[in-house]
């Protein structure tokens, strides 16, 4: 089947998509956007998180046909031009990345949090990131990065 949707502001279509492909697969293998990662394929780890019509979802559990005509934003679409998104800068500054496999999903999920919640508490951050697993960092530096990005955003909205 043919599947078409908007990705990071551009209209994209993919032909000969098999019904059983996930949105994650279509993004990675057919649209040249390998940022979103494929780890568990079961909704357990969040490494495939993308924004679908503006809300974060696990793209591994979205069947290709379900994305038809909708708006998708991936980690590749967080930066504005040459400038990284505040959450990306904060991850780099805080050293919140080790192997990097969980990072794209965490960036999308944390970006959504700081857009919605002006001054998230630590409890808010933990709950918002509960669906994103990281096997390397122990989360402390990830929390620090989200706090930093949220504070900067609150100061310069």
């Amino acid at each position: 089947m043919r599947v078409g949707f908007t990705v990071n502001g551009r209209e994209e279509t993919a032909d000969d998509v098999w019904e059983g492909e996930s949105l994650l697969y279509v993004l990675r293998e057919r649209m040249g956007l390998p940022g979103s990662k494929n780890a568990c394929e079961q909704g357990e780890c969040g490494s495939c998180t993308v924004l679908l019509d503006g809300v974060p979802v696990c793209s591994c559990l979205v069947a290709a046909g379900q994305a038809e005509g909708r708006r998708v934003r991936t980690v590749e679409g967080l930066a504005e031009g040459d400038r990284q998104a505040p959450i990306q800068e904060a991850f780099v500054e805080c050293g919140a990345v080790q192997c990097g496999f969980c990072t794209p999903g965490l960036l999308v999920q944390a970006h959504d949090l700081i857009e919605r919640v002006p001054r998230p508490s630590d409890a808010d951050i933990r709950e918002a990131l509960a669906g994103n697993l990281c096997r390397c960092t122990g989360y402390e530096k990830i929390l620090a990065a989200v706090r930093l990005a949220a504070n900067r955003r609150a100061e310069n909205p």
Partner: protein, 328 residues
């Protein structure tokens, strides 16, 4: 994954006809359970009829209650101002389930009809009567931490995993179903089955029955209600035991009470015996404990989940105590 066709239904009637007319067809909501099962080989429909974009995505006020469309997302339902005001137990139950990413996709109907998380059910290499009737039950004599202590059978000891459904059971929600023969309304207490000798059937729904809405009745007492869930980690984990409770006090006496338990049975377990023991009596911790014991008298724990009996008692008492204190 078995090859399948994908169809986006234009209206509910078309969706029902498409599924009813084909034995291998299935409805698709958000897909967070069904797509997972198709990848695992647990389910293999040859036609998916996507009902997630049907115009069933509204929460509407009825006489004192609410009508929740089948396609309303779990996150939207939890955030709805009238749900938070009138049925806090439901908002909390929803927010205690899954992760933000999953709640943004999961639908009301899909949540009700999600299947058990019994690890053997999800592992196609092991016998399981629910997946392959007659093949045996690997959980009996196996890993039972998440399994039932009430209402199980020698054929299946699985639990129903939904948090939302436990709250809806306490609220006496009514499920609206459109089938090939027309529309009917099913009290949620009649939707789910105990496993008996047919654990492959979770509910009384027939092939082609589409859930179109869930009605929450007028229940002013539910403004004081709570959902308490015990799990293996602080968030993003299924319930070991949970309780949905509504408590209506008249001074220090219990005027009315609604209790439903999660994580303990093949269906959200309405604790009718405990409710009966409490109605008209004192709202004391001692009474709460005796009521929980009345319900748990029928418990048949398995080797590996005996802890759930004491845990259930503790969760029921704590939820009722908190609600009673709030009311004083």
């Amino acid at each position: 994954m078995t090859p399948f066709e994908y169809l986006r239904a234009g209206d509910p009637g078309e969706a029902v006809a498409a599924v009813a007319g084909r034995p291998g067809a299935a409805f698709l909501g958000g897909g967070t359970n069904l797509v997972d099962h198709m990848k695992l080989g647990v389910a293999g429909p040859d036609l998916l009829v996507d009902v997630s974009r049907l115009p069933l995505d509204r929460v509407e006020e009825t006489a004192g209650g609410l009508r929740v469309g089948a396609a309303v997302r779990n996150s939207d339902l939890a955030a709805h101002p009238l749900v938070r005001e009138r049925y806090p137990v439901l908002a909390r139950a929803l927010l205690s389930g899954a992760s933000g990413q999953l709640r943004n996709v999961a639908t009301t109907a899909g949540n009700l009809l999600q299947r058990t998380r019994c690890p053997y059910f999800q592992d196609v290499t092991t016998p399981c009567n629910k997946r392959v009737p007659g093949s045996g039950c690997s959980a009996i004599g196996g890993y039972t931490r998440y399994h039932a202590i009430l209402g199980a059978s020698e054929h299946c000891v699985a639990t129903h995993p939904s948090d939302m459904a436990v709250a809806m059971a306490a609220l006496d929600a009514v499920v609206v179903v459109l089938g090939p023969g027309g529309e009917r309304r099913l009290p949620i207490g009649e939707l789910y089955r105990l496993p008996g000798d047919a654990p492959q059937r979770d509910t009384v729904l027939e092939h082609g029955d589409l859930i179109t809405a869930v009605e929450l009745p007028h229940l002013p007492a539910a403004r004081r209600s709570a959902y308490r869930k015990v799990r293996d980690r602080a968030s993003f984990s299924f319930a070991l035991v949970s309780v949905a409770a509504v408590l209506d006090l008249d001074g220090d006496a219990v005027r009315d009470v609604r209790l439903a338990l999660g994580g303990v049975a093949h269906k959200p377990w309405r604790a009718a015996r405990a409710e009966e023991a409490l109605r008209g009596g004192p709202a004391t911790e001692d009474a709460f404990r005796r009521a929980a014991d009345a319900e748990l008298a029928g418990a048949r724990p398995l080797p590996g989940n005996e802890f759930k009996v004491a845990m259930t008692r503790g969760v029921v008492v704590a939820a009722l105590r908190d609600l009673a204190e709030e009311g004083r």
